[in-house]
Symmetry: D2
Subunit: 318 residues, 4 copies
């Protein structure tokens, strides 16, 4: 590992990735499969815990099955109530549970940097074997750090609203950060509220069916640009989670270009955790009310060997 | 609600339940489906967060699928890796996922107090409809409070070891508490380490198959007695979680008697959360090392409407 | 029961159903849940078996998973290979198996005649309890009878092709029957080949995704008209199976009218089995080659109590 | 292929398999993955169909979920009723469906002849890829041939009954064949009724739980001996299906020896289909009544690429 989170290189100092963007491979050693989560040191966790000032608690996982139908051909969970002794004991079981269909973390095994090459050089076979990058590597550590809420929902509303393909720029994020009165510190998680999920909850079944289809999905999200890639890296955050469908603005460009897919850059080149469909509304209300946008964020992903995604099982504490 | 956690009645002041034991029904109002979790107030959460002194972090969920075969006819999860774009994008899906087969919280819908009557009078139909007691009622609040580790594994070893039906008494718990140098405060979670799960990990497949069968399951756990029921109530804890199979000593008496089933009393009459098969080994090692047995415990159960159990998705922070 | 299949009433003699069409309720007694399958008597089966002249055999179930993505929001099966002893013993398991997603029989529990009333007066509660109309009632009898192939694919091609919403008329069916040189006899199964499934197999992924969506599904099928309802009843067939999506032409009329849904009439009022997405291509080739369009059809639906649909598990023998 | 089923070698003419028994590899060519099913020629099917004399029909699949709990750690199906339009349209879906948990065919991919080598030299990788031996290779042909019922239940009763580990000998089978008044002809399926499944249906839950466990499973079945291997080969049957748990007597010898596992020989060396847990009771009653033990047997296994087992979806017709 490098000699301290304060010494992380700036975007412009990262080596160029062939085909564009820049790569952070090797920053935590050649075998690393944890990525920027390495920045969550005990000191970071300890300091973040001090943000719990009132004891207010905000679960950030949306109800399982809330996003119905799921986007991108994922499925809805089937839940079976098992009455072991009628009227006396209930158990339950789940089938058809797709982590990517609801609030989720995407691990470093989700999207490759290049064909057959995942973050830090992990191969498809290593992913399949659960040897590197899969979410259990995070789960065995746990995630407890500082979270910063950036509420850009007003900017989204001004430009068409959460049902449209609105690109949130680096300037938008920085404006929200400034308004929140916070500075990023290495190891933070950025929580970006676009307003999508609360808007989604008000849509008709018909409209939700329509937007669930890949070719008609339109949702606000991070701009696919070099300035965004630069902003996110330089913030030295370990993860970016949002209340929208795919974190980045949807749909993407036909011509992907070097910055056409933030997933490829953030997951594949940076080793950054991506969170999608998180429920940030109540937290945002509270932040507006008390003017504090930094929280203690805890998250315990599922510990299943070789798994790709997981509900964040996240709490924001203030 | 009552006028403060400090004013909770003592066991001897609770009304008698027909057929033995005592009942806490109504303590938080006639419609309550949360139970003792009501004791986790913002102040409680805030104070507990102050226990994070070093930033050490201990995920308490054992690896999904570690308990193999599962106890009591539950199933093993089947995980499907979905390669959306070969060599470039992985998703995943789960089937046959039984919350009760691994580390879990049992909600107040798991075991009834009396036939057809669950905690606080919830009916079977209300459980089936997810209207009361199901785990989503906890999930929407989140759980963040003080946890107290009581390590009774030495007492268990002296009396036959973690593969035997060793009853842990109230005196054992209190001795561990005393050794830990802590006092219970209303709203705590009690974490009882018997040594079962680490012992289990060393057993042969053959032995694990044998013990998974209901009639040959033998495991240490809480004594089924009035003194235990009294001790747990008077501690005013919101949950008791353990590293053993069914929290209480297994098997139970043939003649259940009023205290033959702690599940019935703790879940059905008290409204107390029961945790089973939690991984407490690393935490215990750390507590022995630094002499501090109180932790900040965060847990975000799944938010699925009408569900019975959930992985705790728990972190212990020190 | 009536006193013989030869004595079945004609369409014009059936009582009027409120709101249009005609009803065969009660024809086989007030408690019947088998419907027209009652016409398959031992004599019928025996005579049909004599159609096996060459020993040619045609499985009529398309490969599970061939229809991908499935129509109408059904799911694709997930198949798990279980290697019990590595390199020596394989087992397997299926999840997410939707009978209606592939070749299928729809039982008399699939579609109601009127809200809350299924064929012959079965209630929603009786369906839910598996007491009447569900597919196990057919499975316990088995299905072995004469099948008649009617190949209308040329007519469909002339009118736009199998990718279009082409209505196959009663006259088309009768023309095909005439060309085949057969007469219907009570208890036959009608096999209607539109050419859809072979056309489907040639479509691009993109095109299949598009057509899988309810609002853009267009497929040939039986005309929704009184003449069709009359033709099918008067043929006294026990089932009508086709290689198209929903048997009847898709989409339907906006104004349903009395004949707007053949499913309601055939299943709900007649007690007739509907088959969809059957693979009829090889059989059709053979019929064209030898000029014989009548076959011995055997089908063993799944025997699961209270189930709605099933793969036909059908063989056509000549 | 060889030049006719009449010319199949006798057991004593088959080459010795290393380690004992004899092998039929190569008999149908080096790439064959169908095995003895090759003996079902059109002529065979045609002649067998003539056995349908009365039109009596006997479905041979036991109700899905009847064997509860399943043997050998397989699972019970979970069936979800999907009410698409309340009170009007039902669909359904299955999870946790294990073909080997109920009436089944085992394909030539189920058990290897030698480590890593399945029937006719198919490799583990070829099985995993569904290239050879998997059940879809039979499904695409269909199965329709002569079935011979051999009822040995009286012999089983005399020697301890269907709840005991009673070995059915070649002499028992031949006695039943003689009593039935039939001779085997190449391409037949042998249906061996031990009485197990009807006895099983009368057992208590407790008893069924006990016997489901591998180490306490005891069931009648074919003797594991050279004379049995010789008898089954020389009968030139394509499959042997029985109403008992594992076809062969259970448990097996500790010392497997060359004939210790019939599965290895029948599936791995002969390419013979094994059927287990078939429901033969009603058929047997009918055979006793009319004195005819030969039937027309039709079976349409699931057509899922690369699958191992399948319900037989079988009908016996007389």
């Amino acid at each position: 590992m490098n000699d301290g989170p304060g010494r992380l290189p700036q975007f412009r100092d990262l080596p160029h990735e062939e085909g564009g963007a820049r790569s952070a491979w090797g920053l935590f050693g050649p075998d690393d499969g944890i990525g920027l989560m390495n920045l969550i040191t005990p000191e970071k966790t300890r300091d973040a815990a001090r943000l719990v000032r009132r004891g207010a608690m905000f679960p950030l996982d949306v109800q399982l099955g809330f996003v119905d139908p799921p986007f991108f051909d994922r499925g809805l969970p089937r839940h079976t109530l098992i009455e072991r002794r009628p009227g006396r004991t209930f158990d339950d079981a789940y089938d058809n549970l797709f982590p990517q269909a609801s609030s989720q973390w995407d691990s470093l095994a989700h999207v490759a940097a290049r064909p057959e090459q995942f973050y830090n050089g992990a191969t498809r076979a290593q992913i399949r074997a659960g040897e590197r990058n899969t979410i259990d590597h995070w789960a065995r550590r746990g995630i407890a750090t500082r979270g910063i809420l950036l509420d850009v929902s007003e900017r989204v509303s001004e430009r068409g609203g959460p049902g449209e393909s609105v690109a949130v720029t680096a300037a938008d994020l920085d404006e929200a950060r400034d308004r929140a009165g916070v500075e990023f510190e290495p190891g933070d998680v950025m929580l970006v509220r676009t307003g999508f999920l609360s808007w989604y909850g008000d849509q008709s079944r018909e409209s939700r069916v329509r937007m669930s289809r890949r070719e008609s999905t339109a949702a606000p999200g991070l701009e696919r640009s070099e300035s965004m890639a630069e902003y996110l890296w330089n913030a030295h955050v370990v993860g970016v989670a949002s209340d929208t469908v795919g974190l980045e603005v949807w749909p993407g460009e036909e011509d992907p270009g070097p910055f056409g897919s933030l997933h490829r850059i953030l997951i594949g080149l940076y080793g950054l955790a991506i969170g999608e469909l998180w429920q940030l509304d109540e937290l945002a209300r509270d932040c507006r009310a008390d003017g504090r946008y930094d929280v203690f964020l805890t998250s315990a992903p599922w510990n299943f060997p070789g798994a790709i995604g997981s509900p964040p099982n996240a709490l924001a504490l203030k």
